[in-house]
């Protein structure tokens, strides 16, 4: 039976209409008024974020207006003229931030493990090139394609992977995928739970705790988020069961051992994985069991609430939903609950207290031996039947040829015969049943017997029906079975909700359709599904063939959808990378998620580096810790990438240094500015700042700021730049003065002047510093030194005469007159020293 996949169903639901944001610049639809006043609305978008500034601007320039128009515009004042509206046209809800970070953690851990597997792979990767290059490409199509060819996919709910076709490395990769998937599911689950707690708190109006953390998000919004993420969890869980859980892929308990042998690839995860696998190493863990669990976890439909209602009554069996509840339990495979309820029926009780009911007192030892065929009590019969229903083991349900499957079929047939003995053609012949309950029992037995019509009628949702069909009608869950199940379910229920569509697409193994619907549901979901599909190699065929088609909603503002065509036509950007780029773009709309956005960009092999270079300098630096973390991030990324990518990131880091330096300079913190400009590679700025610093010192005479800056410069920093080196030596000179080592001070002074280490502009200051040395008792300068000083002095005064003031150096007077006076003193001191030195 063809699945109802006509054109209508395949097309994604139309994208939600974008909301309009009303800013109040003019009344709604009042653009004409604006034009009359010669105004228009203008907007500018902030680069790499979702902020936009909107304001009213003139429509035509004043000069271009005619006289009349100008006169008319003159008298009118537009109230919004001086107002700027800054708004954000896309927002990440506040409650999502912790989830984003938690999911980011799992994502990064998976990336690291994947990298480790790729690196450990070594040489058996045909045509891969250097491991480093491969690691740098990371998630490129190359690795996925090779893995994909090793694990070729076919239809089939239990997965067509054969354990024998996988080599150790492919298994390690699957282990990484499985672990990442399990981790993400755990995070989604935690998020949903915490949202529910928050919603309860907000509803109660609890005080400071709720207000501080939810920041005025109302209970309704939180509940909506919780509902959305409950849906995401359901989809993810299903995808995990069907595609990512490597327990099924590698054929059962073997995966536990394998992950521990691939310990280098997944050091911590290995422990977790093997623990989980060990716990379920028995043959009972089948796809069906997982599906039952999926149903129980995600689509409870308040079964617990119903149970409590029923038992709360004095006479439970008279509750109107009594039988509905029992059918529900049977459909979901919760047989114990069903039989416990059934035993409450007074008419069929077999307990000793009641004296055995119709059956008479039966010794306890024999009771266990009651089989369905030997009793006339319908409750006992049902109980015996469901207890003895054979469940497929893992080996059997994987469809592997061999004893397991045949044995199971035999047992199942034997069991079926028992069922038919009790219930055939809709009649419960050998059982003694009350007339009132006959219909209900017929339904119950019909379900157990696997009558499709009964099952479909008794189920309330298609998920229930699907799992029930799997349990009772098609216990081995072969690929063809699944098609029929889906067809039957779709016919009866015709699900149209988006969530249902995604789940159905997953069950149909139709990955492109599933992704398309998922991207309409939630962008996080689509991105990570594509990511894990890519890692498992499931996307390879679809990408190359370009069958993925236009994405349903064009994502969050990433203009220009990926409109088919092959991957090569788009600069070799894989689909997985495209989604991650779009998701990172979405994250940039929230400033506190900057780290997540950067990490997602960093994971994109092809385009990530350029995006990082563009984004890093534009992240608002509002705290000191954030600036330090950003720098550390750039450094770590540059180290990790190597080659071209590293160069780009180092450029980004230098730009960041320059941004910080500019801020520091504007804030008057010269030392910090110098240090960061040095790191940013701006030598000229450093020179200018050094001059300024020295100038301020010489003008004000306050040594403290100067000393603080120069002392805090590390030797390795000092010698990177000659002006900074000069400052350091100047500081040394003053230290020598303070320590009264005049001879050394003199030597340093001469060295600074004669070696041209000192910039011309500061010669005057240096020369004036020499005066105390010249006037002291000890003769510090020799004859040659004195001649040197005189030469410098002449040069300084010549310059002074020429330009009427030394450029750049502070003048401590009002004009050349006073400057010359100081120099005259110096000249005198020099001559005196010369005479002393010659002696």
């Amino acid at each position: 039976m063809p699945s109802p996949s006509g054109q209508a169903a395949d097309r994604a639901p139309s994208a939600p209409q974008p909301e309009t944001l009303y800013l109040g610049i003019c009344p709604r639809g009042g653009l004409d008024e604006l034009h009359a006043l010669n105004r228009r609305i203008q907007a500018a978008q902030r680069p790499l974020s979702k902020d936009v500034v909107v304001f009213a601007a003139a429509r035509t320039a004043k000069e271009a207006l005619t006289e009349a128009e100008r006169a008319r515009a003159q008298g009118v004042r537009f109230p919004q003229d001086q107002l700027l509206h800054v708004t954000r046209w896309q927002e990440v809800p506040a409650t999502r931030a912790p989830f984003v970070h938690a999911a980011l953690g799992v994502f990064l851990a998976a990336e690291q493990q994947w990298q480790a597997v790729a690196d450990a792979g070594g040489g058996d990767h045909a045509g891969a090139g250097a491991p480093r290059a491969r690691a740098a490409r990371g998630l490129g199509v190359g690795a996925a394609a090779t893995a994909g060819s090793a694990v070729r996919r076919g239809a089939g709910a239990a997965g067509a992977l054969r354990a024998d076709s996988l080599d150790g490395r492919a298994r390690a990769r699957l282990a990484v995928v499985s672990q990442a998937s399990a981790g993400l599911r755990r995070e989604i689950y935690n998020h949903v739970r915490s949202l529910e707690v928050q919603a309860a708190q907000a509803a109660r109006g609890a005080g400071a705790a709720a207000a501080a953390t939810t920041a005025a998000a109302s209970a309704d919004e939180i509940r909506q988020e919780a509902a959305l993420y409950a849906g995401v969890h359901s989809v993810w869980h299903l995808a995990h069961i069907l595609f990512f859980d490597d327990y099924h892929a590698t054929g059962g308990g073997a995966s536990g051992m394998l992950t521990t042998t691939a310990a280098s690839a997944a050091a911590f995860g290995g422990r977790q994985q093997s623990a989980a696998a060990a716990a379920s190493a028995h043959d009972g863990k089948t796809m069906l069991e997982d599906l039952k669990q999926w149903l129980a976890l995600n689509h409870t439909h308040d079964i617990q609430g119903q149970f409590e209602e029923i038992v709360a009554m004095v006479n439970p069996t008279s509750h109107p939903n009594f039988w509905t509840y029992i059918f529900k339990c049977l459909l979901r495979g919760q047989f114990d609950a069903a039989t416990t309820m059934l035993e409450l029926l007074p008419a069929y009780k077999t307990s000793d207290a009641l004296g055995g009911g119709r059956l008479g007192g039966m010794p306890a030892s024999l009771r266990a031996a009651v089989s369905a065929t030997s009793t006339s009590n319908p409750v006992e019969a049902l109980k015996a039947l469901v207890k003895s229903m054979p469940l497929a083991s893992a080996a059997a349900s994987a469809g592997s040829v061999g004893g397991g499957s045949a044995q199971f079929q035999q047992r199942r047939m034997a069991w079926k015969e028992d069922v038919l003995f009790v219930f055939s053609d809709g009649r419960l012949s050998p059982l003694l049943v009350d007339e009132r309950d006959r219909r209900h029992f017929e339904t119950a037995f019909g379900i157990v017997a696997g009558v499709e019509a009964t099952i479909l009628e008794a189920s309330t949702t298609w998920q229930e029906a699907f799992v029930a069909l799997g349990m009772f009608v098609y216990p081995q869950l072969q690929g063809s079975d699944v098609q029929e199940m889906l067809a039957a379910v779709a016919e009866r229920f015709a699900p149209t909700a988006l969530l249902d569509r995604v789940q159905l697409a997953l069950l149909e193994m139709d990955i492109p359709k599933a992704i398309r619907f998922a991207s309409t549901l939630d962008w996080w979901l689509a991105t990570h599904l594509v990511e894990l599909f890519d890692k498992s190699g499931l996307l390879g065929d679809f990408e190359a063939a370009g069958t993925l088609g236009p994405v349903g909603s064009f994502g969050p503002g990433w203009a220009g959808g990926w409109a088919g065509g092959n991957a090569q036509g788009r600069d070799e950007c894989t689909l997985s990378e495209w989604y991650r780029l779009a998701y990172a773009d979405y994250l940039t709309s929230e400033p506190t998620l900057w780290r997540a956005a950067l990490e997602y960009y960093a994971s994109c092999a092809r385009h990530g580096a350029e995006m990082l270079e563009a984004l890093v300098p534009r992240i608002p630096l509002d705290s000191d810790v954030k600036a330090r973390k950003l720098l550390a991030f750039c450094e770590a990324q540059a180290r990790r990438r190597g080659g071209a990518g590293a160069a780009g990131l180092r450029a980004a880091k230098r730009q960041l240094h320059r941004v910080i330096a500019r801020r520091a300079m504007a804030g008057g913190r010269l030392g910090e500015a110098i240090a960061h400009y040095l790191d940013g590679g701006q030598g000229q700025a450093v020179t200018a700042l050094c001059n300024r610093l020295l100038g301020e010192y010489l003008t004000s005479g306050d040594a403290r700021p100067f000393n603080a800056v120069v002392d805090s410069l590390h030797p390795s920093v000092v010698f990177r730049h000659e002006r900074v080196a000069f400052l350091a030596r100047y500081r040394d000179l003053h230290k020598l003065y303070e320590a009264q080592s005049y001879v050394q001070a003199g030597g340093l002074l001469i060295m600074l002047l004669s070696s041209n280490a000192a910039p011309r502009a500061f010669w005057r200051a240096l020369l004036l510093d020499a005066i105390p040395l010249l006037e002291g008792e000890v003769v510090v300068f020799s004859v040659e030194d004195t001649f040197e000083l005189m030469r410098c002095l002449e040069e300084v005064s010549a310059r002074g005469r020429r330009s009427g003031g030394v450029r750049g150096a502070p003048t401590s007077g009002s004009g050349p007159g006073e400057a010359d006076e100081a120099l005259d003193v110096l000249r005198l001191a020099l001559t005196r020293n010369l005479s002393r030195a010659m002696v």
Binding site: Q112, A209, T213, F268, G269, V625, A632, A636, G667, G671
Partner: protein, 391 residues
């Protein structure tokens, strides 16, 4: 060994493969955590010990209070159930106090957090230059909302003009048992000494032109500071110039992000640097660090602490998402002297580093705290999750 040889030897830190261990995941705080601290044990309330965490870089930076059952360790040993520990913290009460006043909507991130000795007052240093004191009131038995944090005092100690990145960057409380003084450092290069009640005792300016990142009290009247220029400075409380200034001159500049003083031997300092290096300094010889240093981490070391209960381990947490415990011969000898009476024989094996990581959570860990009696270590970082283990 002369200086040159020591320098050459010190260039290649002993290469040891770190032992890996696991941090267990606890409850999540909505927001990135910048500081966590245990309350001193004498402040047990209803048998539960208290924990505060300060957040930053979120929509509403705040201080959170959690209570924790110290008996959990025995239960863990008995049951062996790791995930059970998560429930221990989850069932506790959480109280929150916003760090900013309603009238000043600018966010003020928490950059330093300490408990007073008496255990019911918490002092927080904020990004905008304020220091706030919170009082813990209430009792654990009252269920949700049993504890309350209320602001007791506030003081503007550092300046944060518009273009600056931070006001106050770190905080330390003196070790007196009463009337503790607060030393705080800021990005403006100032050290400020103040009291809880809001009186500023003394300010030292122009300590460093780059941002000061850490401060610790060394003796009753002296503090040690570390800065991004790689310098460690010692200042007396009433002085205006440094008692001692030194830095590591061997290699490229190492910006320092954290500092710790040994609780018993006050001449031993440990610092954490930008590149993941943890260095041990002896103040008697400040030309080079002690010849052993450890490349414990790969990225910024946010906090360093001495843990004097065990074998002289130096604990550190880092941007690369790990908490490291490093023991070396030198650090062991420090602990050994404190325990000399036991006559414990220390093995002279090489350095050992243990790295604790949370499973599937490689985001940065910004702060950690060890409760000395029960040996509980709690760490938290950018993921907003409290991670813990027993040491």
């Amino acid at each position: 060994m002369n200086l040159t040889e020591r320098m050459l030897n010190a260039r290649a830190p002993p290469h040891t493969v770190p032992v890996l261990a696991r941090l267990h995941a606890g409850p999540t705080i909505a927001g990135k955590v910048s500081r966590v601290r245990w309350a001193p044990l004498r402040s047990l309330r209803s048998g539960r010990s208290l924990l505060v965490a300060g957040t930053y870089d979120g929509r509403a930076p705040s201080v959170h209070l959690w209570s924790f059952d110290p008996q959990a360790r025995q239960r863990l040993a008995e049951d062996g159930d790791e995930d059970m520990l998560a429930g221990v913290l989850e069932s506790s009460d959480m109280a929150t106090a916003a760090t900013h006043q309603a009238s000043a909507p600018a966010k003020a991130n928490v950059t330093g957090l300490e408990f007073l000795e008496e255990g019911s007052t918490v002092v927080a240093a904020l990004d905008d230059g304020h220091i706030r004191a919170f009082q813990i009131q209430g009792d654990a038995g009252g269920g949700a909302g049993g504890f309350r944090l209320s602001v007791v005092a506030e003081n503007k100690v550092h300046e944060r003009p518009d273009r600056h990145l931070a006001g106050c960057t770190a905080l330390a409380l003196s070790r007196a048992s009463s009337d503790q003084h607060i030393a705080s450092v800021g990005a403006d290069g100032k050290i400020a000494f103040s009291t809880i009640n809001g009186r500023i005792l003394h300010t030292i300016r122009d300590v460093d032109s780059l941002s000061l990142t850490a401060v610790q009290w060394r003796t009753a009247s002296q503090v040690a500071t570390a800065s991004l220029s790689g310098r460690i400075c010692l200042y007396d409380q009433r002085a205006s110039s440094a008692a001692l200034v030194f830095s590591d001159h061997r290699v490229d500049v190492q910006p320092l992000h954290s500092l710790a003083v040994h609780p018993v031997r006050a001449e031993k300092l440990a610092v954490g640097s930008d590149s993941g290096l943890v260095q041990l300094w002896d103040l008697r010889n400040t030309s080079v660090p002690e010849s052993i240093e450890s490349q414990t981490h790969e990225s910024i070391v946010w906090e360093v602490q001495f843990h004097n209960n065990s074998f002289g381990e130096i604990w550190s947490c880092s941007e690369d998402g790990s908490v490291g415990a490093w023991t070396s011969m030198v650090s062991r000898s420090l602990a050994g002297e404190a325990k000399a009476a036991n006559g414990v024989m220390m093995d002279t094996a090489a350095d050992r580093t243990t790295l604790f990581r949370a499973a599937q959570q490689p985001l940065s860990i910004n702060s950690f705290s060890i409760q000395s009696d029960s040996g509980a270590l709690v760490a938290a970082g950018d993921a907003g999750q409290l991670l813990f283990t027993f040491v």
